[in-house]
Amino acid sequence: MSIAWYLAVSAIVFALGAAGVMVRRNPLVVLLCLELMLNGANLALVAFSRMWGNGDGQVFALIVMTVAACEVCIGLGLVVAIYRRRLPIDVDELRELQG
């Protein structure tokens, strides 16, 4: 398979994730859609790494996975804190950043 096919899949996944971030209102699902976007970028990185026969893209993909894990950690911590304060778990209704 040529590299272009992998890039097409990565573009589709990224666009789907971006649409999901805009559509969904549950912060948990918004985080999942962010994961989709990161995964699309990861696929493109690994595909380009294969294209040049150079390992840098794969290391970059591993670092992106680390950053995604950190983001999930903080995001889920925020969701749990929101839930504990009996606030609605809905990004439309959480419009104010003040306590």
Binding site: M1, V9, F14, M22, V23, N39, L43, R50, G55
Partner: protein, 224 residues
């Protein structure tokens, strides 16, 4: 063989992504993301990225998704409401565009992004995009094996590696502070406040070990 595997895995990845965006129940969305991640790991294997594929399955589809499942189970996994029930939601809906219009707008924006990305990626002047990639010779230290990635991480990308570990540490501490013990939540204390509200003076030790970070002394109740 590899073409058939590519189409199966690519279809699985896209179907999983559609499932994440479309499914109403967050729990099913998490399961769809797991399917998406496993398909993506197959694509990584096809691209000769063995170590990244293994890390994807073990770390991502394993550990991170378990965290998601736990939080969905804890929060209750309430479904997205298509029509606002709360008064605030109705107020918002009276002012702004409705749910269907928002969905249409997001679909248009996502489609525009997709077209733009496809033009940029496939309409590129790079000739190598049309090829199957660089020549590959199998071996114990071949491209993409754990030995290859490990050598890169410990030589050329050592600083990146160390910074990533530090980032993970910061994220872990941040998550504990954010989702800390229930004693402070709902009471007077909170993030950045004095936990028990007794007007305790901050000491230099609190900079190293902030209140409510789950130290062992707090666990046994010695440090109130």
């Amino acid at each position: 063989m590899s073409a058939a595997l590519f189409f199966v895995a690519g279809f699985g990845a896209i179907a999983g992504a559609v499932g994440v965006v479309m499914l109403r129940d967050p729990f099913y969305a998490v399961l769809a993301l797991v399917a998406h991640l496993l398909s993506l790991a197959v694509l990584f294997l096809l691209l000769r990225a063995e170590f990244v594929a293994a890390a994807q399955v073990v770390v991502y589809a394993g550990a991170v998704m378990v965290l998601y499942v736990f939080v969905v189970a804890y929060v209750g996994g309430r479904e997205d409401r298509s029509s606002g029930i709360g008064q605030l939601g109705e107020l918002l809906r009276g002012r702004g565009p409705g749910g269907a219009q928002l969905r249409l707008g997001a679909a248009i924006l996502g489609g525009a992004l997709l077209v733009e990305l496809l033009i940029a990626l496939l309409g590129t002047g790079l000739k190598a995009v049309g090829g199957a990639g660089a020549p590959y010779a199998p071996g114990p230290r071949a491209f993409g094996t754990p030995a290859y990635i490990g050598q890169l991480l410990l030589t050329r990308f050592l600083l990146v590696f160390e910074v990533a570990s530090f980032l993970l540490l910061i994220a872990a501490v941040g998550a504990v502070v954010l989702a800390g013990r229930s004693r402070t939540i709902g009471g007077r204390g909170g993030i950045g406040e004095d936990g028990d509200g007794t007007g305790r003076v901050l000491t230099p030790l609190d900079l190293i070990r902030p209140h409510e970070t789950g130290t062992m002394a707090e666990g046994v109740g010695a440090r109130k």
